[in-house]
Symmetry: C2
Subunit: 163 residues, 2 copies
């Protein structure tokens, strides 16, 4: 399945298994953002199914040209890292099926792109995200994962512009 894409629209993803941040950005604004939460009562494979279907739906609606996703390195909780990798696989697979180009950014690269400081905390990140880009009003509070997904989109747009 290859769908027509909007050339300057990017899907930012903060990967996870319980919660996945997703954001659609174009050159200077956030068009959409959300936090996909999987149902803990479901079986493992069913939760991966939920993740894939949610990503498919977002891609179908917003037609981004690229996926910007956080890369994953070793962390202390290996069981969790393996689960998040499974979810990453599903997300990359859906993006690939829809013909999106995929780009990976390390957490540190995202922090540097957004705040200029590789060890910025969550509060600094959210503050800078609000300064850098127009965020649509939203009734519910944005979760960290959602802010991180927006930050990934910003990183991608900034990196691509400067090339």
């Amino acid at each position: 399945m290859s769908i027509p894409t909007r050339s300057k629209t990017v899907l930012g993803i903060d990967p996870g298994f319980d919660r996945i941040g997703a954001a659609i950005l174009d050159e200077n604004k956030v068009l959409y953002s959300c936090c996909i939460e999987t149902d803990r009562g479901l079986l493992h494979a069913e939760r991966l199914f939920e993740i894939g279907m949610a990503i498919k739906k977002i891609i179908k609606k917003w037609k981004p040209a690229a996926l910007a996703i956080e890369s994953l390195f070793f962390n202390q909780n290996i069981t969790n890292a393996l689960k998040v990798s499974e979810a990453r696989g599903v997300i990359l697979y859906e993006a690939s099926m829809a013909g999106l180009k995929t780009y990976e950014y390390s957490p540190q690269a995202v922090k540097i792109a957004v705040t200029g400081y590789g060890k910025a905390d969550k509060i600094q990140m959210e503050m800078m995200v609000r300064r850098l880009i127009n965020l649509p009003k939203k009734s519910s509070k944005r979760l960290d994962d959602e802010v991180d997904a927006i930050a990934l989109g910003i990183t991608h747009l900034a990196t691509k512009k400067s090339i």
Copy 2:
């Protein structure tokens, strides 16, 4: 997408990123087995795409009712474990889309089911697989991954029978 399944047919998968063993078994024989090899010249997401498409094709042709896949634990090569987990995610996702039930077995559980010994080596495993099940003739040599996928199918059938 939910497709009709053959109730006693299982898809055994030895997950990997470079090579994935796949086997279709029914009660007492191997109907099909192969080793899916991804093209190292392709991009990361494209290789996940190749894996998913190959799994989709096998499920569509053989209509198994269940997936028996090796579980993954911490191993020394963490980078590789994360890549294999991404592939596992794609495989579980395709199985889930087709309505297969999924079952996970540890490498040790497979060795015990097939040889009675949790530390069996590859030669012992292949020898016992040949004794336990009818293998179709094949012109090319079976790779270890393919034998492991058959062993996963045997483990599943043996476990399910004894419940």
